[in-house]
Each structure stands twice: as C-alpha cells, then as structure tokens.
Symmetry: C2
Subunit: 228 residues, 2 copies
C-alpha cells in the first residue's frame, strides 16, 4: 500500500470523474480529505463484509467488483475503468469485494466525509447520480449478455468489448491488445468455467477470428466473427 495527497491538477480523469462537476474551490475542499493510493494487481481495495467506511475514484488502471460464494468461486459483477466510482454510500457494510486487476491508482475518501460533500455540493450528488445510472445500465447490459448467450458468444462479445476499451478512438476496437484478466477472471465475469473459456478462445483462434500473442495478448483478425 502507498498513500499520498491528491494532485488534481495533473489528474488524468479530472474532466470525467464525479469530482469534475465541482468548481475549483469545491474540488480543493474535497481534495483535502482524499488520499492518493497505488494498488498492485490482485490487491484488495475493499473486502465484502468489512466496515464500509471508504469510497474511491479510479484514476488509472482497472478494478473488478466481485462476490464470492461459500465454496470460494468468484463471480465478477463489474469491471471499473478510470473515472469510475467505487463504494456504496448508503450501506453500513461493504457487500462486494473490490480488487485491482492491474497496477492502479485511486483517490480514496472517507465515506463519511464524502457523504458530507454530497450534501454540501448538489453538483456532486448529480454527478454521482449520473455515474450510478450508467453503472446500472452497464450491469443490466452485462446481465442481458450473459443471460441468454452461448459460451462462444459470451467470449466473443467480451473480447470485442475489451478491444473497444483498449482503443483510444471510441467505437473502433484496437487491433491488438492485452487482456487485463486471467482466464479465471474471464470465467467469473462470463459465468463460465476456466476450461470452457480456454476452449472457446482456442476455437476462435482456429476459426480465424483472432490470434493469440502470448497468454494475454489478443490480435483481432476477423472482428465480425466475434459478434455472432
């Protein structure tokens, strides 16, 4: 763990995160009780069941929000990208795990102080509402995707989504990118087993839709095949 004061001036998500809705003085106020923190891959930011006393904005990297059964199998409920907000403002206990997928940076806040800021600054409340609505849409879209599709379709759609997330230009998938998730994590996200994910990736390579570049690298050859 590492922690230091905020540096909003150089923040890469300063125009997109919830705090972008604040003006200079308000943002400075919020910055006073936030801490910057670095996370290593696999490091847990929040753990289900623990006291829910913090929240955070993701600045760089990627997080997962997940739930684990009694038997230890993990179900990934959401991926968090930069500018995303994590933490449940109204629950006494954290109900899901939040874990870094890659080296990541967050702005960490005390939940109590953040909630006070939400009361004080209506623009912050509205910005969070907007973000929460988008997360809700994302959760429902994922549910619609996982619900009624074959393993092949899920893996294909996931690869396409990751290619789009990896690209700088919106709506144009990157031709080549590295998966930020292990097979186990892909399986947890898509509601499949590791073996099935592996087989489907192999099948997609055999059918010429993609090429693998090492374990995590993916090269799109025929993106259209991923969509069906």
């Amino acid at each position: 763990m590492s922690s230091s004061p905020l540096a909003c001036a150089t923040c890469p998500v300063r125009d997109r995160a919830a705090c972008a809705a604040l003006d200079g003085a308000e943002r400075a106020d919020l910055a006073r009780f936030g801490r910057h923190r670095l996370l290593s891959p696999g490091e847990t930011l929040f753990a289900a069941g623990e006291d829910n006393d913090r929240c955070a904005t993701l600045v760089r990297g990627a997080l997962k929000i997940s739930a684990s059964d009694a038997d230890g199998t993990e179900r990934i409920l959401s991926l968090v990208h930069p500018a995303g907000f994590v933490g449940e403002l109204f629950a006494p206990l954290a109900r899901f795990d939040v874990v870094a997928l890659t080296h990541s940076e967050v702005c960490l806040f005390s939940r109590r102080e953040y909630e006070a800021a939400v009361e004080r600054y209506p623009a912050l409340a509205r910005a969070l509402l907007r973000r929460s609505s988008e997360d809700l849409f994302g959760a429902r879209s994922l549910m619609a995707m996982v619900g009624r599709h074959s393993a092949r379709e899920r893996v294909g759609a996931f690869l396409l989504a990751m290619a789009e997330a990896a690209s700088d230009s919106p709506c144009h998938p990157a031709a080549r990118f590295d998966l930020p998730l292990s097979r186990a994590e892909m399986a947890g996200l898509l509601g499949l087993t590791i073996e099935t994910v592996s087989r489907q990736v192999s099948a997609l390579e055999k059918s010429g839709a993609i090429r693998r570049r090492g374990l995590r690298g993916i090269e799109l050859v025929d993106a259209a095949q991923l969509g069906n």
Copy 2:
C-alpha cells in the same frame, strides 16, 4: 391507458419514494407536472428504442425491466416494486422495455421537467442517488445469483424472494402467495427456459418444499429446502 392529476396526500408510497425527500411546497411543485396513470398487466410503459422523454415512480403493482434479443426471447433484468423509480435520466433513447406485470399505478413525469426538478432540489438528487445505488446493488445481486447456480437453486431462491416480497413483515416470507410472473417471465428472469422452470417447480413440489395452489399460487412447506 388512463391519466389524471396526482393525489400525493393519499399516495401509499409517499414516505418511501424519491419524492419523499421533498418538503410540502417542493412536492406540490413536482406534483403539478406529474400525471397519475393506470397500467394493465402486459401493458408497456416505455419501449426500448423509443424517445426517452419520460420517467415514473411506481405507486402500486409491479413492473419488469427487460431486453429482447433479435429472435424475440426476452431477458428480464429487474423487477420494480412500489416506490421504485423507472426511466433513465441521462440517455437520449430508452434502452430497455418497461412493462406492467400486474395492474399497476404510476406517477408519470416528463423527463425534462423531472431533470429540472433534480437541478432545483438537491434533496431529490440525493434521494434518486440512493435509489439508483440500491437498484445497482439489486442488479448485481441478481447477477451473482443467476451466475453460478443450478436451475434448482435459482428457482428456489426466486420463490423465496417472492415470498419475502409478498409478506408485509420484512424478513418473514409469506406462507402462501401468488406469483406475479408467468413461467415465461420467470424463465426470462432466471436465465432458463420455460420447460426447465416448470420441471424445477414440479421437483420442488415432489420433494416437499412447496405446494402449488392453482397455476400461480405457491404455498411454502419447507422454506429451508429452497435455500440450498
């Protein structure tokens, strides 16, 4: 369709809906541009793809939020209970269908006017944020449930959830209740087929967990069996 002015004074959800955060004058302001509307079972409130110019609070009854594939199979993404809010404030087009499951009553608002009220009344923004956060939690819980459980467990958990929703006392499932969903809707919600749902309900009856009372009626005999 039926439509008439609001009657907040006698509204059964006036203490729990988003508008409960407003004081008398503010609520009266909101009420001026809301309309009361009755929905019959199966009636569509909002349709995916159409202009997203309205939003609503559910007063009585039950709604479903769903998405339909190209081939027409429906995936239910959420059930909406009284005091729930439906509508996406920040999207230009509606992205999901919202349909009444039972005879229902909603307060219907123009999205533009509702958004203006959210700007004007910070308490409304915070109340919607709270509700949106809860919906997000609900969506993720459903995803966690559907993700890694057998057909039997899904149906059992669903029946238990419905029994709890049907009960007045919280955390005590009703011993007897009517399902507000058809088999097709249950299948769409749980990510199964109609046949599988039917078989699992039959199996739960054979194993003594429940008894069926007509097509939609369920009597809990051994609720513990539903949880495993």
